[in-house]
Assembly symmetry: C2
Homo-oligomer: 235 residues x 2
DNA sequence: CATGCTTAGTTGTACAGTCCAACTAACTTA
DNA sequence: TAAGTTAGTTGGACTGTACAACTAAGCATG
């Protein structure tokens, strides 16, 4: 049945979905969109990850489709976009066998504060899920994205993409802690960040109610940094 | 154009491809299949990764499709199968917009020594490629798989899946070195393997021309072990 | 003004695990 | 027996994480 000489066989429905993360209100949040509330649609009115069908006439490749769908809902281009994985089966969509190519994106604080499409909204992540029940297998995809992000935060600089353009080291540490859901040891964190080729100080301090803090910014065109060792796991 | 109310729009061709690794002749090898030598097929007679179209009537999900295609060519089920990623674009296949969901598999020495389908053959990997020019974008997929495998070998126990049922520690170390393409430090390697919950000694020694070596086997139903730290990078 | 509190930044020490050199153990060959 | 080889072990140096304790720099209060 596979590798048919002709191409006249049924093909899976093919979509791209994007898990878009940001830190808002001191919490990790994800962008969801509300599906149309019409009876002819699967999961009417339910919340889902942004995404939809691949347009083979307009999308050059999968990543271009992901970039398009992200921009449709947020109006911006993400500083970090990574392919998460794909899900495909007979069971995911009542309309028939379907597959999705999932990506996850990290939005900086300023980008995440902008206007959204009318059907889009930020939701706070609790554990490995959100409050609303999600359409399709999107809860599973969201969980996979959260697990992937958290695993990579243990040994990379990924949360730097969630920061505003200028930030202090304690603020950066806080972003790691929010994603991971646990405190990190300050001196090890500082050593890690200051010895990596990642950030540079700017000639400005953050004034607050206590001691002023040095402001930093990401170095130009910065790819994520990989560290040789993870933070120690929580007990 | 996306999220169309109806489903009467063109869909991408959808395939699953599997990068199957094994160690044979003291080298990392990958299984390739030769495409049909007919003019009506794209890349006639060229070597390609095992795979092909998703059969939406017979394949429950993407992974089932991958397992089927691996078994078609090798006759066995792999002890380790991991999703690698997906590639989809207008440019990969002259027949039209297509997407593939790629997996990589690790075959133990015994499984890799068995009979193959008539069109399949093992090829030695040099650097991040093989000698033959591959069909479609399979050279790119193979490169991604090799990079993924090597990156994960720095901090996991993955090469254990490439071993025969019984092995010595120096043999296990050799498998890591073959995949990584560089020597590893013996005492650190032994500490790593013996303190992980991965292998157990059996009541048998390997007799050879020098000192006898203790034989080990993988502990039952063993998921890969993750280590907190990578081996030090080569200079 | 002094004191206490808070957060920013720093420092010395302990620890786990990687690397290296050197060693002992167990075999084979000349 | 000596030399060579591989298997297995050990002490010390190194890296970077965690911890406790400290100094620095502000603010509020009495």
């Amino acid at each position: 049945m596979s590798d048919r000489a002709g191409l006249d066989f049924p093909r899976p429905l093919t979509t791209v979905d994007v898990v878009i993360f940001a830190i808002k209100s001191d919490a990790l949040q994800v962008l969801l969109v509300q599906r149309p509330d019409t009876e002819s649609e699967p999961f009417p009115g339910a919340w889902a990850l942004p995404g939809g069908f691949v347009d083979i006439a307009g999308d050059r490749d999968l990543e271009a489709c992901a970039v398009r769908k992200l921009k449709d809902k947020t109006g911006v281009v993400s500083p970090y976009l990574e392919q998460l994985g794909s899900w495909g089966s007979a069971a995911r969509d009542p309309r028939g066998w379907s597959a999705t190519h999932a990506y996850f994106a990290l939005l900086g604080e300023h980008a995440a504060g902008g206007a959204l499409a009318a059907d889009a909204q930020w939701f706070t992540i609790g554990g490995e899920k959100v409050k609303p029940k999600l359409a399709f297998d999107h809860a599973e995809i969201l969980q996979a994205a959260i697990q992937r992000l958290r695993a990579k935060v243990e040994y990379t600089s990924l949360p730097a993409y969630l920061m505003p353009p200028e930030f202090t080291l304690p603020e950066l540490q806080r972003s790691f802690e929010i994603v991971l859901g646990r405190p990190l040891e300050k001196s090890a964190f500082r050593t890690r960040m200051l010895t990596a080729d990642l950030i540079e100080p700017i000639a400005k301090m953050r004034k607050g109610p206590n001691r002023p803090a040095q402001l930093y910014r990401l170095k130009k065109a910065k790819a994520p940094v990989f560290f040789a060792r993870t933070f120690n796991p929580p007990e």
